[in-house]
Symmetry: C2
Subunit: 423 residues, 2 copies
């Protein structure tokens, strides 16, 4: 019983533990893009970017089971798996992003990235957007507005207005890239005046938590120029867009067309096994490794590497990046053709797409969007919402998502838009 | 080839990546207390506390493989495994330590524990010993001397002299508990003068990284009294002693006889699967969960919980805590009977024991201890060293370690003590 599970959760996990939906789903099984609840009800998963190559993909499960039965230990001993995997993953990156540290979570990866910027520059000042999330450690929470840090934001953190394609920074779409860069320049000046100096800017190249605004390639060029001129590092959090999701390119920064100094990866990397990594240029890695004797007991163990390697295998063998591009374009086309009084914008790249809803006066249709999400769940389609006011429907399914899956999701969405009142 | 692997590591992982031994061991297989290298050479593992119930224990491997094939997703959906496991683990703890957060690494757990103290007290000042390690995140590295933080120690951190059974704090074994507490009281006064106030003290109840000094139960009573009187929390890092290793009790703090406000667990929890947790009283948990909306994508997923549950099964079914007590006592008795000019002290509790070596003048025999460790490795026994000057031999084997295993390890050690020059 769901109510029993919620009572047990409250008893053993405490209050304020996040769940999805008014009545959280009690899952028991997953396969491909499908999930089943305890009553045998089947759901189309349009939201889980962790089960990147599909829930319980047999190739990944077998790789985990095989390696777990042979050896699982840490990197103070030598083992090929971490080398094989690191060589293969760094080969997908340009910009001399040739070295990596394997860790267990995206939060750990971003926590390291912040210190890489610190080690290279000798400064601590750091900038992020004002509508983002980069992790749950103490340090990463300090630049996350979606889960604000305990004790407030410290002096070395500055948050700049997030890009937005409905209400652009600076007032116009044309001027947004420049306005965004100017906010960063002001923040840098403030950090320097504060005395902590400027170490870098952390961003998701798809601005996924900001509501994945529609931005053209090159949007970040003025910002990157400002950051480089001030001697800071560009820390690129690819935890959501990475590994082929956006279709056109394997990495979000390649689509945007800029060169990061550090890339962090996480969630989809090993299809649910706790694996993440920080990838950097050799000079950045050397500065960090020399300044701090980093070691992670579980990071890069043979089982984690086998899981990550098998995930890459599946992405390649099943041409999942191509599928993300093709199905994403198909789905976005259908979303564009939806007509609804509250629809402000349909947008997306690859298998990361959605619709923003606003009222006539331009105010966010937060409650309407919430009700659409609940309707979808009640009708067997799991998706969610994002954006400053949580008024953007967000779909981010496992990559083996087919046109038929997209049709089911969008047919259900069209029914929701008919049924959910918006008065 | 080992040299090829080292070259590949340098190329893809960067400089200053920690390894064990002059020539690191290239492992390919593990089973129980045994490890095999690429040349088919067999080693007795006397050091790995991650493979807690034995390398590749089939019960744990099967649990991982079974659950990975069925479902692996996050805790925003409901699933029984995290509840079953949390209820079972918290039942092993007293002091109202009834609620927990599952994460992926001990570092993540300690990073949360620090913020629990902050949430409860509204202060940031934190104390640890001056010879310890509590994690690799930015926040936990700030109270770790074994891997000092980038940028030095911040104003809200104070490090007090670590307990020592050969060179006791305050000069005498009898006065050490009181002297230790007085150092903490002084540190609290400094933090209050600094303006950050006092939030808590983080410690390992076995002082494992400090060199696991011989201390009697009750040693921490004066310190805990000082901490409580000042309104701070006792944050107990059980990452090394926990889960039955010390034999007499399941937890290190129960052996020491004090009541922590927060307990963190990690390495051995799931026999190598990346699982860790923070366990706290409901009032402490509520303060943290209310102040910060914590969520961990991989933490507490069904596969991690299955691995952790299976590890607890094996500890119980194979009576591994009893084994740790019996074999630990047997091994320590043999260590006590070893006679060597540099032997300062043999000590330990359960399957966590070793010998400290010093020269005639009392100075640490660091190089001698290093050579003993290398001799052991060359002769098929993996162990290591710890302590302020790395002059204490440290043995911390998987728990299915038998008397025959102890005899092999100590016979080899006796040969090492004959062979390694100490002039």
């Amino acid at each position: 019983m769901t109510s029993d599970l919620l009572a047990r959760r409250a008893r053993v996990m405490g209050p304020n533990v996040p769940t999805f939906y008014d009545t959280p789903v009690h899952l028991v099984r997953g396969e491909g893009v499908w999930l089943w609840d305890a009553d045998g009800r089947k759901y189309l998963d349009c939201y889980n970017n962790v089960a990147h190559v599909g829930h319980c993909h047999p190739h990944v499960v077998e790789a985990i089971a095989r390696q777990a039965a042979v050896l699982n230990t840490h990197t103070r001993y030598l083992h090929e798996t971490i080398l094989d995997y690191s060589e293969r993953l760094t080969a997908t990156l340009s910009h001399d992003l040739d070295q990596m540290i394997m860790v267990c979570t995206g939060s750990e990866a971003n926590d390291i990235a912040l210190r890489m910027a610190q080690a290279v520059t000798g400064k601590t000042g750091i900038i992020a957007t004002d509508n983002t999330y980069h992790g749950n450690t103490l340090a990463t929470s300090q630049l996350s507005t979606r889960r604000p840090p305990i004790g407030g934001y410290p002096a070395h953190v500055r948050l700049v207005p997030a890009p937005d394609s409905v209400r652009p920074v600076g007032g116009t779409i044309e001027g947004q890239a420049q306005a965004f860069a100017e906010h960063i320049a002001r923040a840098i000046a403030e950090l320097e005046a504060e005395g902590c100096g400027f170490s870098g800017f952390m961003l998701c190249p798809s601005f996924a938590n900001e509501g994945f605004p529609r931005l053209d390639p090159g949007f970040l060029d003025p910002a990157v120029e400002v950051i480089r001129k001030a001697g800071g590092l560009v820390l690129c959090d690819e935890v959501q867009p990475g590994f082929g999701r956006i279709g056109e390119t394997f990495w979000g920064h390649d689509w945007m067309g800029f060169a990061p100094d550090v890339v962090t990866v996480g969630k989809p990397m090993a299809n649910g096994h706790p694996v993440a990594a920080v990838i950097a240029r050799p000079d950045v890695m050397a500065a960090f490794r020399t300044a701090f004797g980093y070691f992670n007991t579980f990071g890069g163990n043979p089982v984690s590497c086998a899981a990550a390697m098998a995930t890459l295998d599946v992405i390649e063998r099943e041409s999942l990046q191509d599928n993300a591009r093709a199905v994403g374009a198909y789905a976005l086309d259908r979303l564009h053709r939806i007509s609804h009084p509250l629809k402000a914008e349909a947008r997306g790249t690859g298998l990361f797409f959605g619709i923003e809803f606003t009222h006539d006066d331009g105010s966010p249709a937060t409650e309407f969007t919430r009700e659409v999400v609940e309707y979808m769940r009640e009708n067997g389609v799991l998706m969610n919402r994002i954006g400053r006011e949580m008024n953007t429907l967000k779909m981010r399914p496992p990559l083996p998502f087919s046109k038929e899956n997209a049709d089911l999701a969008i047919d259900t969405l069209e029914a929701a838009l008919q049924e959910v009142p918006y008065g």
